[in-house]
């Protein structure tokens, strides 16, 4: 996996909440046994009309979003199915980072991204950034006002900077494990296999029928 340090690119908006992975990459594309070829079908049902031509009403089809590599959207992005194809599609379309707001509901913190999607994103070098609702709102407004607005995402500094005449920047929090993982572009399996001895030891004392119980 390619390490993620800092990235500068055009921001595109997708003004919807609860975007599910069925929407990100519809079922008919899950039949593939390959890991590539998903980018052209990202948001397929929204993106293309009945005639197979790009739907001019879909936000991402606007010319000024061409080549965008940062997506900003609303809460609970990537909910639903566990399909990693959704992250492959996002990445292969060209997005390196997605920004969405966390929310507060009944006094609890509602994360910006669905759990499995967020995990899958890390494995594919896609950075998911959580900001507050008002910060996200501000970026939406700026993108609407300034066509082809660019941002720089500095992972080390945990900062998103909008390149306006007077730069605005936002700090984001990130799980240090995820940060390190993205920065080094680590291969999880290789890392875990370094603990092979521990796994083997564990297996000798672990009863598969009664895990945690006394071995037979």
């Amino acid at each position: 996996m390619e390490p993620f340090q800092s990235h500068r690119g055009v921001i595109a908006t997708l003004d919807r909440a609860n975007v599910d992975t069925d929407q990100i990459i519809p079922k008919q594309f899950l039949k593939s046994i390959e890991r590539t070829g998903f980018g052209e079908n990202l948001f397929f049902d929204w993106r293309y009309g009945e005639d197979g031509k790009p739907n001019p009403d879909f936000e991402l089809n606007q010319d000024h979003f061409n080549g965008a590599s940062i997506l900003i959207t609303r809460n609970n992005f990537g909910c639903g199915s566990s399909r990693e194809h959704a992250v492959w599609a996002v990445r292969q379309y060209g997005f390196k980072a997605i920004i969405a707001p966390w929310q507060e509901r009944d006094g609890t913190h509602v994360p910006a991204f669905a759990d499995i999607f967020r995990n899958n994103a890390v494995k594919n070098g896609v950075l998911t950034i959580e900001l507050t609702e008002s910060e996200v709102e501000e970026i939406f407004e700026m993108v609407a006002r300034f066509k082809r607005l660019e941002a720089t995402i500095d992972l080390e500094e945990q900062r998103v900077t909008l390149h306006l005449d007077e730069e605005i920047s936002f700090h984001f929090d990130i799980d240090p494990v995820v940060k390190d993982h993205l920065q080094r572009g680590l291969d999880d399996i290789a890392l875990t296999l370094e603990y092979e001895r521990d796994i083997t030891d564990f297996e000798t004392r672990h009863d598969i029928q009664m895990p945690g119980g006394a071995p037979a």
């Binding site: 003004d15 194809h85 895990p211």
Partner: protein, 468 residues
């Protein structure tokens, strides 16, 4: 030792190591595999020259893609066929048990785990499928993973995980007749929202949960993911032990081993003093049959309710609701019971077990579906199909004018030929009402099996509590 929750007991006993960075390396006891989310994982193993560490702990079947009609063994779609073929090859090459299309035990992956005794209490279980949460009904920690993680489990039999938070959902009192465990979980999602459980593992408890059969418990745990939770769990009890001891479950312990296992499983329930990060109490006796009106499982109301006004839905913006209503072709203020489905789908890993089919059949017995309705009944597994036929349920569905299918996911996600047409409206016993989920442009209303069956008879939704 400090008081622990069910989740904590299982988590702690599967900890191979806590990494320097605080991540847990968690041992995985059972891994379920299906054709859609596994090919790239096996390919990854081949590319890196790795192998499957414990082929004896992975179990595969074909469900998402497969046709459910009489001629299902000949898959006409060449791409679907290639995927099914890939799973066959991979299982052969790596020595994994496969319940192939055409096998007596083939079925939806979350059906066959419990049926075959692969799912028992106290385990860690994963599958490249979000509804793996279903297995939590047995008091097991079960959750969905992506394809990279599938590869990780195949290669190492472990996963790197950060520890989720715990969320106790207590259902007090008893369900009233006409309401089901499907309504309990839809009600919960309506309350907390589809992201309300993100980052948590839910434990369902309380009198109403204890009163549920294993099959009904699976329905609740199944939809935990629809509330954003990684997993849902229910403490094992006599119902659980009886389920495991009954029927033909080749992978479950028997005899003396079962007795020892039960003694161990009895130690799993949450200690009385244990605490959760979050708790919520719902009075089960106030839960009415639920129907979704929108394109997110949290867009749900009581059957006595109406299609809402755009600014009157907690947790959803006006824009979300307007988008959903326009997609669904619904007008605010319409009574839910005025809505007329064109298709009724009885199936999916949420509601296609014996009890679901029996309850639906009781409604169809001696009745016909409305002429305006297409009725499809898809048992979740071949085992359920055979049992239903032995009880004559297939005849009831057919005499009511329905189609009786072979096992698979079918119209739950429409990856096979079973799909809704644009704007077609469906009463579905499945778990997701997302845009296009059951077919591009299709409109889904999630309900319990009895609500779906009664809607098929009447041609519109009815309040099952006062319908006869």
């Amino acid at each position: 030792m400090a008081a622990q929750t069910l989740f904590e007991k299982i988590w702690n006993r599967h900890l191979v190591k806590t990494m320097a960075d605080g991540t847990a390396l968690l041992y995985i006891d059972r891994h379920l595999v299906h054709e859609v989310t596994s090919p790239q994982a096996f390919e990854g193993l081949r590319l890196t020259g790795r192998t499957v560490r414990r082929p004896d702990l992975s179990f595969a079947t074909m469900d998402h893609n497969v046709p459910t009609t009489e001629d299902r063994l000949t898959i006409r779609d060449p791409i679907s066929k290639a995927q099914v073929e890939a799973l066959r090859q991979n299982c052969k090459e790596f020595g994994i048990t496969l319940y192939d299309l055409g096998s007596d035990e083939q079925g939806i992956v979350h059906m066959i785990g419990p049926e075959l005794g692969i799912t028992v209490p106290g385990l860690t279980m994963v599958c490249g499928d979000s509804h793996t949460s279903t297995h939590g009904a047995f008091g097991t920690l079960a959750f969905g993973i992506g394809t990279s993680e599938v590869e990780h489990v195949l290669a190492t039999q472990t996963l790197r995980q950060s520890r989720p938070k715990t969320f106790k959902v207590e259902f007090t009192g008893r369900l009233k007749p006409g309401s089901t465990s499907k309504d309990m979980v839809l009600k919960l999602i309506g309350l907390i929202g589809t992201a309300g459980g993100t980052g948590y593992v839910i434990e369902y408890c309380g009198e109403a949960v204890r009163g549920l059969s294993m099959e009904a418990r699976m329905t609740i745990c199944n939809m935990s993911i629809e509330g954003g939770a990684r997993a849902g769990m229910i403490a094992p009890d006599e119902n659980t032990f009886e389920y495991i001891a009954s029927g033909n479950r080749p992978f479950a312990p028997t005899g003396e081993a079962l007795e020892r296992a039960i003694a161990y499983w009895k130690t799993l329930p949450t200690d009385p003093e244990a605490s959760f990060d979050r708790t919520l109490t719902i009075e089960a006796d106030t839960i009415a049959p639920q129907i979704t009106w929108g394109t997110s499982p949290g867009m749900v109301v009581d059957v006595t309710g109406h299609v809402p006004e755009p600014d009157q839905v907690p947790g959803y913006s006006r824009k979300d609701v307007e988008q959903a209503l326009s997609y669904m072709g619904l007008t605010p203020g319409t009574p839910m019971t005025d809505i007329r489905p064109d298709t009724v789908f009885l199936g999916s890993c949420t509601n296609s077990r014996m009890e679901d089919l029996r309850r639906a059949a009781a409604i169809f017995k001696g009745r016909k579906k409305a002429d305006s309705v297409r009725l499809i009944v898809v048992p979740g597994s071949q085992r359920v199909r055979r049992q239903a036929e032995a009880e004559g349920l297939d005849r009831i569905f057919k005499e009511a004018g329905g189609e009786w299918r072979y096992a698979g996911c079918s119209m739950c996600l429409g990856m096979n030929p079973d799909q809704l047409k644009p704007q077609e409206r469906c009463a579905s016993t499945s778990n997701r009402n997302f845009e296009g989920r059951q077919g591009k442009g299709g409109r889904t209303h999630l309900v319990s099996p009895e609500m779906a069956a009664a809607a098929a008879v009447e041609g519109h939704f009815v309040d099952i509590r006062n319908w006869s």
